[in-house]
């Protein structure tokens, strides 16, 4: 036993030197090289342009079509319910809290929306408060258009809100590096994925390997640990990554988020949850057994159904969660 321990120790001492010699350059770079480093977006249009990934579809059509079907493609609008929820966040929360500084939509700043936007639109952090106000104004206008049956305004605002989403550049650039002091900041013009090299695109001429593109921590940035308490008035919806680490992995689970939601499901970039038939089948075992029995209670004999129901969570995180 003692000899074995000494050999392991020697291996630990020797390995780092060899490892450092072979290390590649970090995938990221200085903070000033980020997409948002030059200036903050002052309008929704500027924010959309800052993270415009519409040119990706030319070569990545299948991934684009998959993504279009996912809620990532309309992360602010959702089914309409998400957009409406931004408004009720203001009415039922911000405007009621005495120290939020918000009485109405005109008072809203980026910090007020980050409770929602930290996941639904993380790039809002790269915008000025004017964008936060414009988003709220657009949501109010969209809801007014619904009430007044003003289809032209409805469609205009809906399109504007749907333009704010979790697109290619959000995952393959902005969120592609978590530990930025270690790996560098994601650089403008670089698409982060599984390879290094040239990328045949004028806007994004380089590819770089993201250290986390295949790791659950990539998704964990939004589908969070939780409850996260980092905001001045914390709010939290998703705690999936926390339960993934502390229950699923701790009990021997080995799959990553991407393995189930992208590969095993066959959904690729159309990441879904329970409404997808493939995810639905994988997520849960459900079993019921029923039999008839007679029950004699003194002089009375009564028949009953003995029904046993069991459900087992086969997902890699708590249900429900997101």
């Amino acid at each position: 036993m003692k000899l074995t321990f000494m050999l392991v120790l020697a291996a630990l001492v020797l390995t780092p030197a060899a490892g450092f010699a072979a290390e590649a350059a970090p995938p990221g770079g200085p903070a000033k090289g980020q997409i948002a480093a030059k200036k903050k977006a002052k309008t929704i249009a500027e924010l959309v342009a800052m993270y415009d990934s519409s040119s990706c579809v030319e070569c990545h059509e299948e991934a684009h079509q998959q993504w279009e079907n996912s809620v990532h493609s309309r992360s602010i609008y959702g089914t309409g319910r998400t957009a409406a929820t931004f408004r009720t966040a203001l009415v039922n929360g911000l405007a009621e809290w005495p120290f939020s500084g918000v009485k109405g939509p005109g008072d809203v700043k980026v910090e007020h929306l980050m409770g929602c936007a930290k996941c639904h639109l993380p790039q809002l952090a790269d915008a000025t408060d004017a964008v936060a106000k414009e988003i709220m104004a657009s949501i109010y206008s969209w809801q007014t258009a619904i009430r007044k049956q003003d289809s032209a305004t409805f469609e205009k605002e809906q399109a504007k809100l749907k333009g704010l989403n979790i697109n290619c550049l959000v995952c393959h650039n902005r969120q592609a590096i978590v530990h930025k002091w270690t790996d560098g900041y994601p650089q403008a013009g670089v698409v982060y994925g599984s390879m290094d090299g040239e990328h045949p695109s004028d806007k994004f001429p380089k590819m770089a390997r993201s250290p986390i593109m295949g790791e659950s921590i990539l998704c964990g940035q939004c589908h969070g640990l939780g409850p996260n308490l980092e905001l001045d008035n914390p709010t939290q919806c998703a705690t999936a990554y926390g339960s993934y680490l502390w229950y699923y992995r701790a009990e021997g689970g080995k799959e990553t988020c991407q393995e189930c939601h992208m590969r095993k499901s066959g959904l690729g970039h159309d990441m879904q949850s329970y409404r997808s038939e493939a995810m639905n089948k994988m997520a849960l075992d459900f079993e019921a057994k029923a039999d008839g029995l007679y029950w004699r209670d003194g002089s009375q004999v009564r028949p009953y159904v003995s029904l046993a129901v069991a459900m087992t969570n086969r997902a890699g995180h708590v249900i429900p969660d997101g």
């Binding site: 039922n92 919806c237 009953y304 459900m311």
Partner: protein, 85 residues
């Protein structure tokens, strides 16, 4: 309700995703865990055959009035013997 209304103080917490910054205890179904229920459903008088229909619903907003989702179901016709005492 898009923001927490309960703040993990004393004995008060809320239901739903928005309330997770005010959780006191997590009561969801955790990975690999099994939840079992057993029911005894008495036959109505004179009835010897009963159709059992079990439905598992996911209620993202807590009620059947708001976006309910039928997740699984089970059907079985259960009969009891018509002889004996």
């Amino acid at each position: 309700m898009p923001v927490p209304q309960q703040f993990a103080r004393g004995d008060r917490m809320g239901r739903g995703p928005y309330e997770k910054s005010g959780l006191i205890e997590e009561s969801g179904l955790h990975p690999g865990k099994t939840k079992k229920e057993h029911f005894q459903i008495f036959f109505p008088e004179e009835v010897k055959d009963l159709d059992v229909h079990v439905q598992l619903w996911y209620l993202p907003y807590g009620t059947m009035q708001s976006d309910p989702f039928l997740w699984r179901e089970y059907k079985k016709s259960v009969s009891i013997s018509k002889e004996g005492k």
